[in-house]
Symmetry: C2
Subunit: 210 residues, 2 copies
Amino acid sequence: MARLPVYLRALVALAERGIATCSSEELAAAAGVNSSKLRKDLSYLGSYGTRGVGYDVEYLRYQIAREIGVTEDLPVVIVGIGNLGHALANYSGFTTRGFRIVALLDSDPDRVDEEVGGLAIRGHDDLERIVREENVAIGIIATPAAAAQAVCDRLVAAGVTSILNFAPAVLSVPPGVDVRKVDLSIELQILAYHEQRKALVQPIEGGVTA
Amino acid sequence: MARLPVYLRALVALAERGIATCSSEELAAAAGVNSSKLRKDLSYLGSYGTRGVGYDVEYLRYQIAREIGVTEDLPVVIVGIGNLGHALANYSGFTTRGFRIVALLDSDPDRVDEEVGGLAIRGHDDLERIVREENVAIGIIATPAAAAQAVCDRLVAAGVTSILNFAPAVLSVPPGVDVRKVDLSIELQILAYHEQRKALVQPIEGGVTA
DNA sequence: ACGATTTTGTTCTCACGTTCACAAGCTCCT
DNA sequence: AGGAGCTTGTGAACGTGAGAACAAAATCGT
Ligand SMILES: NC(=O)c1ccc[n+]([C@@H]2O[C@H](COP(=O)([O-])OP(=O)(O)OC[C@H]3O[C@@H](n4cnc5c(N)ncnc54)[C@H](O)[C@@H]3O)[C@@H](O)[C@H]2O)c1
Ligand SMILES: NC(=O)c1ccc[n+]([C@@H]2O[C@H](COP(=O)([O-])OP(=O)(O)OC[C@H]3O[C@@H](n4cnc5c(N)ncnc54)[C@H](O)[C@@H]3O)[C@@H](O)[C@H]2O)c1
């Protein structure tokens, strides 16, 4: 389920505030979902709650982390260390959430050996070797769209089976490989669409009622 | 529909390759969706295709852009010009997809007046004034999670009605305000989940069959 | 000019996800 | 010890979205 990470994040936040136990209602509010949905999602993992009391925050946190598979750090490579790649490489949030960036790769010779976030950029000739040696299963693509499919193919050929793609391009991969895409322009355009609907509807309502 | 921007991007890519007409099958492949779904989505906008021929790329491109509401540039502000904010400010893709970054805001006095991507960073005291003067409807939050809700509240109070949130926090907003969140850790954790499933299933299958 | 062919627009069915509602079960107070 | 009061877990209805299949329409060739 795609909501488990949200629950995990909410549980970590509750734990940091020193809360040891929480009801499905509280956790649902913290995660921004319906409490029914939350309970059904959690019941899919097993009965980790206590009726009349709620859920033990620390225990449930571990169970969800185990279900997701982030109890120990997973190695990740980032390909394309431009504007976005730099930000990702400098981001500390991955480390604290179950991931370990093991390599930064870029095709630009001028960028190679530059150090970002404590890691030296490697040339993309090293891609296959690094993926094999470090047993990397997850790759992040932050190259221009034109290079994305080629980079993707190389990652997959080297053994990567999960890809997070920031380039605005549709990647085709063999079966068994998962791709998730993050496209900020699309997110903004969806917001723009709703903006437009608001702009069309509200003036009419606004003039008559509130 | 959340898929319209994907179609738009695919149409722009086709137009750049000099293709003037395309079938639903071709466009669906370029967008990575089913052709039935694509035709149903497009029919919701009206009958913009020609049976036996397909869709006129340029015409459909404009119609979708109009439907989304990005025929003319929408003003956007970015709050929190750290690692991620810098990358966003330097990103040229927003401009070419219907958005115009009108201000970069940060609370850190050391950062104010620094120039990023041709725009000077402003102190966050200027938030309300800029939003009003430029008629900004869309705000991007790239601050730490702890500051996200406060920034969000200020944006909303100033008149912003759509928010794109990069901070790992659940934002609560009044009705009428849209929030979309981008959380990279969540994306990675979803990939990790599928990784784990693959790791559990494949060794068994792999040992017996292929 | 007419039919074959291609491709859209639409309808129908099906499956999934969401939400409501309630029974089972635990705790705490008396 | 027993019951009142919560809270979980789950069963059933509901609505929504996806996919396949088909009919309408436009072009092209003859
Ligand atoms: N910067 C943003 O905020 C932002 C926002 C949304 C989407 N994106 C997308 O993310 C991608 C990267 O954006 P950016 O702003 O960092 O671009 P960028 O041009 O700054 O960086 C791209 C980097 O990729 C490297 N590269 C190119 N081809 C490569 C290859 N074959 N192998 C390895 N490295 C290669 C380049 O040398 C460069 O360093 C783009 O596709 C962009 O559309 C960026
Ligand atoms: N860097 C990444 O690749 C990345 C990836 C995923 C998520 N994120 C999230 O994006 C957010 C920003 O990440 P970052 O790496 O850029 O962090 P950062 O610390 O580099 O930058 C945060 C910036 O926000 C500013 N800021 C703080 N409070 C503010 C306020 N009240 N008003 C205006 N500005 C304020 C700070 O001065 C700083 O410049 C964080 O929530 C982070 O979790 C970042």
